[in-house]
Symmetry: C2
Subunit: 272 residues, 2 copies
């Protein structure tokens, strides 16, 4: 598709402009190739396959809250996040949204559905200014059939996702909201946490804009309950939180909440 595009463009511009664009394109190609090399899933694929993929993929830039794909639309392309963050969510019939996960650079999104040819089971939204690499399902299929070890890696990655999904099911079925929220926050800290030192104290900042609503959709509750719990945590010095930001102050104690080894003071006072 790209070459054809070039021919069309060439008709309307002089040789210098064409060459400038061409070198920009080559540069983009080069960057794309470079990006592909960072993707763990493709880490040990042979070079010629990466070249092939780079030629057949396109970058797409999303601004905050922009939708990458909608729930139920046919999954003709798979994406790899290159920078920023996206989240996957499913709408319920009664209008709520449930978040299925947050994806960070070099993670695939919609890869599995593109492989098996199912429609996207949820919508994908940029949480931030984000760039993704779009690869057609056909390219993915061809590359995979040419390089079977890649399938094994896909299986491993899917296993990790399935494990996380099972963890969430277990939590949602058996655990209280405060604990679930603690796990959500810790999981996010693992993905996008940045360690900071302030006054000799070590803190973990969640490096993305994160509203109460977002957290509620991840924890399976309402923004009100999230707000109350975060206020409690704030009061007991566990976190520092405010409008769309969250910093974990005492990670160890938050783990205790997540594991329910010691309920917070406030959880107890709220319940008394």
């Amino acid at each position: 598709m790209w070459p054809r595009c070039f021919i069309v463009l060439r008709g309307g511009m002089n040789a210098i402009a064409y060459n400038r664009l061409r070198s920009a394109w080559l540069c983009t190609q080069d960057m794309t190739l470079n990006a592909l090399r960072h993707i763990p899933l493709l880490a040990d694929a042979p070079a010629h396959l990466l070249d092939e993929l780079a030629r057949e993929s396109r970058q797409r830039v999303l601004s905050r809250n922009e939708i990458l794909f909608a729930q139920g639309s046919p999954a003709l392309t798979a994406y790899f996040v290159l920078s920023g963050r996206v989240r996957l969510m499913q709408h319920t019939t009664d209008g709520q949204d449930v978040a299925m996960g947050v994806f960070v650079p070099y993670e695939p999104v919609g890869l599995l559905v593109a492989i098996v040819g199912a429609p996207y089971p949820g919508a994908c939204e940029a949480l931030d200014h984000t760039t993704v690499l779009a690869v057609s399902a056909a390219s993915i299929a061809r590359v995979m059939s040419q390089h079977p070890p890649l399938m094994l890696k896909v299986i491993k990655m899917m296993h990790a996702r399935l494990t996380e999904a099972n963890d969430r099911i277990r939590e949602l079925a058996a655990e209280r909201v405060e604990r679930r929220l603690a796990r959500v926050v810790l999981r996010l800290a693992n993905k996008v946490g940045v360690k900071e030192e302030v006054n000799g104290a070590s803190r973990i900042r969640i490096d993305m804009p994160l509203s109460r609503q977002n957290l509620a959709e991840l924890a399976g509750t309402t923004l009100h309950t999230v707000s109350r719990i975060l206020s409690d945590w704030q009061r007991s010095g566990l976190v520092d939180t405010g409008r769309e930001h969250l910093v974990i102050l005492r990670a160890h104690d938050l783990v205790l909440v997540a594991e329910d080894i010691a309920p917070t003071e406030d959880a107890r006072s709220r319940s008394s």
Copy 2:
């Protein structure tokens, strides 16, 4: 491992007994091969691979409530259910069990973890008198590497499971218990339902022993709540249920409950 076992046995028996056992073994081999052919995952694998697998796999018989493998133990073997039903469950730290699913003949169990070399994330228990086929992780890995299309089928199967897991997450996060229970029952009906005609009325019997506790673990609730809801459904003629059995009388109306198109009379009266 089998041949060695034979040599040992042979030492302690006469030729006739040996030959009888040998033919029994060959017969079992044959049955195993036949069983393998019924497994959709292996449906279009070449014959010699099936032979290989048949030689390297063993059948195992489980009686009701027997544990096939424990949560956290290393997944050195994958299983295929041949008859009966098993369920997968995870224990929570505070002693509850959450069911991850019910598996019926020709479905794989523990296949993924065997492939990726992770420990079993949950325990597997026979719900009924059950036979399974045990295949070592090593055999699976070898066969898969010899026949890449098999990996693609594994990916498709995983996708189905991941989709179901996501559905459950959405339900648990956003839906009321009655609706979730209705979905659980309908899902079971799809898997193990037997259509029956009684007095001209069509019913679907859930063909497995199924306690309130089992249902509660599948729906993410308590046996008390399950009992109350089933009593309500019974009163309104939706189902016929009793000690470890469940028959759907008006499947269509149960779907309405699952989709929350029309709440049952009793759900409304309970709430008033």
